[in-house]
C-alpha cells in the first residue's frame, strides 16, 4: 500500500481527490473503493487536529458513502435501493475537481495583480459638513439595534447545530454497537433490515468496522459475496 501523506485538505472531497490522485487513479467507482480504507485512516489520524467541529459531520458522511460503495462491490447481495451511490459520488467528485482546477486559474489571474479600482468617496464639489438623516430618532436606533442583536442568533447557534449533526451520526453508531452486544451472534442482513435509511446502513458498517478493529467482535463469512455473521468475542 502507498504511504498516506496528506498535508492539508479543504473538506472531504478534497481529501478524497488527493488520495485518488496520489495513486494516479482515475475518478471511478473502483478507485473510490480502493481508497476507502485510507480515507478512514486519515480521518482517524487527523480528525482532532485538522478537521473543525463544523466540518466533521461532512467528513463522516463521505466516509459512510465510501463504505457503502465498497460494501456493494464486495457484497452484491446487498440491495437496499436503486440509486447508484458510486455514480453519484464519482459525479460529484468530478465536478468538484473542475472547480478546484478553475480555482487555480483564478488564483493565477489574481496573482497577475491586474487590479482595478473605483472611486472611494462620492465626488462632491464642496465639504458636506454635518448632515443628519432628517427623520432619524433615538427610538428608531433602539429598534434597529434590537434587530441587529436578534440577527446574530443563527450565527451564534451554528456551532451547536453542527455539533448536533455529528452527534447524531455518532449516536447511531453507539446504538448499533449496543445491539450487537445484546445478541451474541447476529447476521448482518438482520441489522440491515432494521435500517431506516441509507445513512443507517452506512452507519452500521462503520460501527461493525470499529468493533472489529477494537477486537470486540469477529466476522465470519461462509463464502465470498455472501451474508456474514457477527459474533461477540468474550
Amino acid at each position: 500500500m502507498h504511504p498516506i501523506k496528506i498535508e492539508e485538505f479543504e473538506g472531504p472531497l478534497d481529501l478524497l481527490l488527493q488520495l485518488i490522485e496520489q495513486q494516479k487513479l482515475e475518478i471511478t467507482k473502483i478507485s473510490l473503493a480502493q481508497v476507502t480504507e485510507q480515507y478512514i485512516e486519515v480521518l482517524n489520524q487527523s480528525a482532532s487536529q485538522h478537521i473543525s467541529a463544523s466540518e466533521l459531520a461532512d467528513f463522516l458522511v463521505v466516509a459512510a458513502r465510501l463504505l457503502l460503495i465498497k460494501s456493494k462491490a464486495l457484497l452484491p447481495f446487498l440491495q437496499w435501493d436503486e440509486e447508484d451511490e458510486g455514480e453519484e459520488l464519482t459525479g460529484q467528485l468530478k465536478i468538484y475537481k473542475e472547480y478546484l482546477d478553475a480555482s487555480k486559474v483564478v488564483q493565477s489571474l489574481i496573482a497577475k495583480k491586474r487590479f482595478s479600482f473605483s472611486r472611494s468617496k462620492l465626488l462632491v464639489a464642496e465639504e458636506i459638513g454635518f448632515a443628519p438623516p432628517p427623520k432619524l430618532t433615538k427610538d428608531r436606533l433602539h429598534d434597529v439595534f434590537e434587530d441587529v442583536i436578534k440577527n446574530l442568533d443563527p450565527w451564534l447557534n451554528l456551532p451547536t447545530e453542527v455539533v448536533k449533526k455529528s452527534i447524531n451520526i455518532q449516536e447511531k453508531i453507539a446504538q448499533i454497537r449496543q445491539r450487537i452486544f445484546r445478541e451474541a451472534t447476529t447476521k448482518f442482513s438482520d441489522i440491515l433490515k432494521e435500517a431506516k435509511d441509507k445513512t443507517e446502513v452506512i452507519v452500521s458498517f462503520l460501527a461493525i468496522l470499529e468493533l472489529i478493529k477494537q477486537r470486540t467482535v469477529i466476522v465470519r463469512q461462509s463464502k465470498n459475496f455472501d451474508d456474514f455473521e457477527i459474533n461477540r468475542l468474550d
Binding site: 492539508e8 479543504e10 473538506g11 472531504p12 472531497l13 478534497d14 473543525s52 463544523s54 466540518e55 459531520a57 461532512d58 467528513f59 458522511v61 463521505v62 440509486e83 453519484e88 459520488l89 459525479g91 460529484q92 468530478k94 465536478i95 468538484y96 473542475e98 472547480y99 478546484l100 478553475a102 480555482s103 486559474v105 483564478v106 488564483q107 489571474l109 489574481i110 496573482a111 497577475k112 495583480k113 491586474r114 487590479f115 482595478s116 479600482f117 473605483s118 472611486r119 472611494s120 468617496k121 462620492l122 465626488l123 462632491v124 450565527w155 451554528l158 447545530e161 453542527v162
Partner: protein
C-alpha cells in the same frame, strides 16, 4: 437613448458604489427596461474603447473602475495596500461563487461537499461576497462583489476563463437536484 446613457454615465462617474438598475431608473425617471438597454450599450462601448476606465457589471448592478492595465500606477497613486492574498478555502469558495453565482448556500455546499457557513461569513466580512434574498429560490443567494471582480481585473463574471462550461455544467444540475443533498441544514 444617448441622453439616458449620458445621464447614467454621469451618475456612475461620481458615485463611490455600484448602482442597481432600479436605482438608476428611479434617479433618471425612466423605465428599468430602457435603463437596461442603455447599460448594455454603454458596456459594449467601454469594452470596445479599451481606455483607462472599464465598465463593470454583476447581476443588476454596474460600476466604473480603472483599467487593470494601469493597476500598479493607480495602486501607487491612491496608496492602496491590496495584496489579493486568499486562503485556499477562500479561493475555492470564491471560484465556485464566481462561476455559479448567484448560488444558494445549499448548492455551494453540495459542490464543495462541506459546510460553508464559516467561510461564507468570512468572505461577507471581507466584502468579497454578498448575499441577497432571492424570492425565486426561497432562500438567500450569494454572488461575488465588485471588490472581488476588481481583484480579477475583469468587467464581467462571464469574462472568466471557461465561463460557459463551468457556469452551465451539464451534470451539475443532476448533482444539485439529486437526493444526495447531505449538506442541507
Amino acid at each position: 437613448m444617448k441622453n439616458l446613457k449620458s445621464k447614467i454615465e454621469s451618475l456612475l462617474f461620481i458615485s463611490n458604489q455600484p448602482l442597481a438598475l432600479k436605482k438608476l431608473a428611479d434617479l433618471t425617471k425612466t423605465e428599468t427596461k430602457e435603463v437596461s438597454e442603455a447599460i448594455k450599450e454603454l458596456s459594449v462601448e467601454y469594452d470596445q474603447r479599451q481606455g483607462g476606465v472599464i465598465f463593470q457589471r454583476i447581476g443588476d448592478k454596474v460600476q466604473l473602475a480603472s483599467s487593470p492595465d494601469n493597476a500598479k500606477l493607480v495602486k501607487d497613486y491612491i496608496k492602496e495596500e491590496t495584496t489579493g492574498e486568499l486562503s485556499r478555502a477562500s479561493l475555492e469558495t470564491l471560484t465556485i461563487i464566481a462561476y455559479r453565482g448567484p448560488i444558494t448556500k445549499a448548492e455551494l455546499e453540495q459542490i464543495r461537499g462541506v459546510n460553508c457557513s464559516v467561510i461564507l461569513r468570512n468572505l461577507l466580512i471581507r466584502g468579497l461576497v454578498e448575499s441577497k434574498a432571492s424570492s425565486a429560490k426561497m432562500q438567500n443567494t450569494y454572488n461575488i462583489t465588485f471588490d472581488f471582480l476588481k481583484f480579477l481585473g475583469l468587467s464581467h463574471q462571464s469574462d472568466l476563463p471557461d465561463y460557459e462550461k463551468l457556469n452551465s455544467h451539464e451534470s451539475i444540475q443532476k448533482v444539485l437536484g439529486s437526493t444526495g443533498g447531505q449538506n442541507q441544514e
